[in-house]
Amino acid sequence: MRQNIRRLGVFFIILAVALVLNLSYLQVFGQKDLVENPANTRRLMREYGIARGRIITSDGQVAAESRRTDGPSDPFKYQRSYPLGSLLSHVVGYDSPQFGRSGLEQQYNEYLLGRKPFKGWVEEMTKNVEEGFDLHITIDGGVQAAAARALGERKGAVVALDPKTGALLAAYSWPTFDPNGLVSQERDAGGALKADALMQSYNQNPASPMLNRVTMGLYAPGSSFKVLTGSAGIESGFPPATTYNCPGVWPVGGSRVTNYGDPPRDFGTIDMDVALARSVNTYFAQLASDLGAENLVYYSQLFGLNGVPPLDYPAVAASFIPAPEKIDAVELAWSGAGQGRLLLTPLQLGLIGCGIANQGKIMFPHLMRDVRNEEGILGRFDIGEWRAPISAETAAEMLEMMVHVVEDGTGAEAAIPGVSVAGKTGTAEVEGKSPHTWFLGIAPAENPQVVVAVVVENSGGGGGSVAAPIARQVMEAALR
């Protein structure tokens, strides 16, 4: 009998080992699949059981807050609410149990949930009510509203930056979406979530309202790119005084570059200052040809092209210039004038403007100012230099020429009485459609406080008449 009892003991040990092995699968090796199973509401209950922090603009407006749900039938304790609605929807994003998160809601999720920054073991252990931290952002509600008003219901994007810090003061993209509709838990008579239908309509809309055109919209830059060609030229031994004979049509590599006008206008022999003010294609085509593709691509990449700008935002596209060996003489000439295969985001053009406005240095672009709770600031964004593509002298010379664009050139509509505004227009030809219009503005030129980049899709007209007035209104709001 003793032997049998021992055998029974061994059998019980085997059962225990089986239990432990099974646990190690559930709790360690197979854990991830179970935690991420869509039917597992634990993560959602945990996250929507937290009074998520608010998102607050630099002028103190609440852009996002958590509201306690009242009914016992509500599956979650808190729900997100966006008092500014679609004005800031691309920047702030949404936070939905069904669709997940986007924008700053996604970028700073851990902070808004109060999980970061770590406050120490004692505090973590004794925390009873879970409360998130408030995110204070660099966006100014007033500048943002001015951008929305100025752009109106035209497809396009406006971004305003503080060149000294890299802070985004405004970032508006139209069409927008309704974040409150997306996070709503309301159901229709048939029991279907209303937000589902809304999300579906956004996804099917050819105008892509969910797309943040500021950071994700890629457009041919047109003449606005000439500030980069010019800066690269000055850095490479072609000072502003460099003159070229600029006929209406400049033949190159079996093809030709033409100026605007019908017939294309002949400017004679002019320097860079006049060429920029009048946006003369044949000048920058010749300058780019003399610079060479290597140089043009080199400086483009110094300004940040072909890389994702380090904005603290989850959806940022890299702007594009082809590799130098893939650019032939014709494309090189056209690229100097901003045509060709070049693609820029409004953010990237704004960053180029920041380099020119801030003595050749581009600061890290950012949306977060700091994270706080009622006790004070828990962490802030470290302002720092991202890159320095050009010298302070080059930047000053380019800035001065850009002042002339507004004073006495294509950008006249960006002028603000009593303020010296620098700028550059752009009109990018689009196959088969009316052109995109651009404007890059800097104000005040003697001590830049704001850089604005505007793009309006297929607007017709020119950068000077369509985009420049939008930039003016945003700059005015920022300087106020």
Binding site: R6, A16, L23, A39, N128
Partner: protein
């Protein structure tokens, strides 16, 4: 260093007493952000009860085993801490039941000087067990699809919890008397030696009756448990592997029949095979899926007490208590629980080995099997190792009758261990 048994017990109880105090601090901090002074009564009462039991044993039965009580104390402590976290009111009731259970255990240990008296009353006890099982058929109340409860005003009693012990006593007494006959006499059939009907008859009758009753009451967990006890004791008594083989075959046949006979068994099996099927995950397999999610949520170290969401699982306080442990105390806590049960069962088997008489040996084996299988069935059930059958986790799940019966079981084991030691001391 050689401590006397009772000092060993005292020392181990002191070590185990850390659990309820740590649990109290942890739950209060997580739930209230501060210590609620009144709540210290819970750990104090708990620890007090077990030390009182220790003192009674010291006074009346100093020769009993010193390891069993601290192991059970540790299990009870974890159980109350988890319950305190899930539902303070239930924790209070459980505490009262624990007091009643410990008192009953002490009465049994002190009054029943020699457990071998039970051998004489084997048929009476078996009859009481059957009547208990039968009683729910007549007087029982259906709760959650199964008719397992006797209700007396505010009190509910689950007779199968007590019946399992009574039947183990009967099996032990019967087998101690006739094991040789069962093993050796009889004809050979297809290579198997069939025992004579008159040797096996009463045993098989009792067993079949109880099994049938349980099946008709849809108490599949208990019927699996009864079956396991029977096979384990029969094997230990007769050394006949063929009985185990036949038993397992019988079980497979029975299980297949119930699968086709009862729709809810089929449901359970489907939920076991496909717990995460999106079609059933919110209905039939909701419980098991949520239980698996709870274990996954816990990971290695757990969410911490009162920091998980175990309350979304229905019956978390009873059948699914182990899922709450897995979620909030993690794999560490869940494995500690397995090890505590294993240590307890190993200790009981050790007592069985040392016990001088066959009845005591077999009874200890039967009772060890009850704890081992019952904890395995439910721990394996909620972790999807085996199909889920509703049954309590001994000493942890909320429930008065379960707690009461299990303390009686502990009392019997202490009694058996006492005699073993006393006989060993004489030699």
């Amino acid at each position: 260093m050689s401590l006397s048994p009772r000092w060993k017990e005292c020392l181990l109880l002191v070590v185990a007493a850390v659990i309820p105090f740590a649990g109290w601090v942890s739950v209060d901090l997580a739930r209230e952000g501060r210590m609620v002074p009144g709540n210290v009564l819970y750990p104090l009462c708990l620890v007090g009860m077990f030390f009182a039991a220790h003192l009674v044993l010291r006074a009346f039965r100093p020769g009993t085993d010193p390891i069993l009580l601290p192991l059970i104390a540790a299990l009870c402590y974890i159980g109350i801490v988890v319950l305190f976290r899930l539902d303070v009111h239930m924790a209070r009731l459980q505490l009262i039941w624990m007091g009643v259970g410990i008192a009953a255990m002490l009465v049994l240990v002190v009054a029943l000087k020699d457990y071998r008296i039970l051998e004489r009353y084997r048929y009476t006890l078996a009859l009481v067990g059957l009547v208990l099982l039968l009683s729910t058929m007549v007087l029982g109340k259906e709760v959650n699809g199964a008719r397992l409860w006797l209700v007396f005003g505010p009190l509910r009693f689950q007779p199968s919890e007590l019946a399992k012990i009574l039947l183990a006593v009967f099996f032990a007494a019967y087998l101690a008397e006739r094991k040789e006959l069962i093993a050796e006499a009889g004809r050979s059939f297809l290579g198997f030696r069939l025992p004579r009907l008159r040797d096996m008859g009463p045993l098989l009758t009792m067993w079949a009756l109880s099994l049938l009753l349980l099946i008709f009451q849809k108490d599949l967990g208990s019927s699996l448990l009864f079956f396991g006890i029977f096979v384990a004791m029969l094997y230990v008594a007769t050394s006949r592997v063929s009985f185990v083989v036949v038993g397992v075959l019988l079980f497979v046949v029975g299980a297949t029949l119930t699968f086709f006979a009862f729709p809810h068994v089929e449901e359970r099996v489907t939920a076991w095979l496909h717990p995460l099927d999106p079609k059933t995950i919110n209905d039939e397999s909701y419980q098991i899926a949520q239980s698996l999610f709870a274990f996954a949520e816990g990971g290695l170290s757990g969410t911490g007490l009162a920091r998980g969401y175990p309350e979304i699982i229905p019956f978390i306080e009873t059948d699914f208590a182990y899922a709450a442990v897995g979620e909030e105390l993690g794999m560490f806590g869940a494995v500690v629980l397995i090890l505590l049960y294993l240590a307890f069962v190993a200790r009981v088997l050790f007592i069985a080995l040392r016990c001088p008489d066959d009845f005591g040996k077999l009874l200890a084996v039967g009772l060890a099997t009850i704890i081992a299988l019952q904890s395995f069935i439910i721990m394996g059930g909620v972790t999807r190792l085996v199909p889920l059958t509703g049954i309590t986790l001994p000493f942890i799940s909320y429930g008065g009758s379960s707690l009461f019966s299990n303390f009686l079981l502990l009392g019997l084991l202490l009694g058996i261990s006492g005699r073993g030691r006393e006989v060993a001391a004489k030699h």
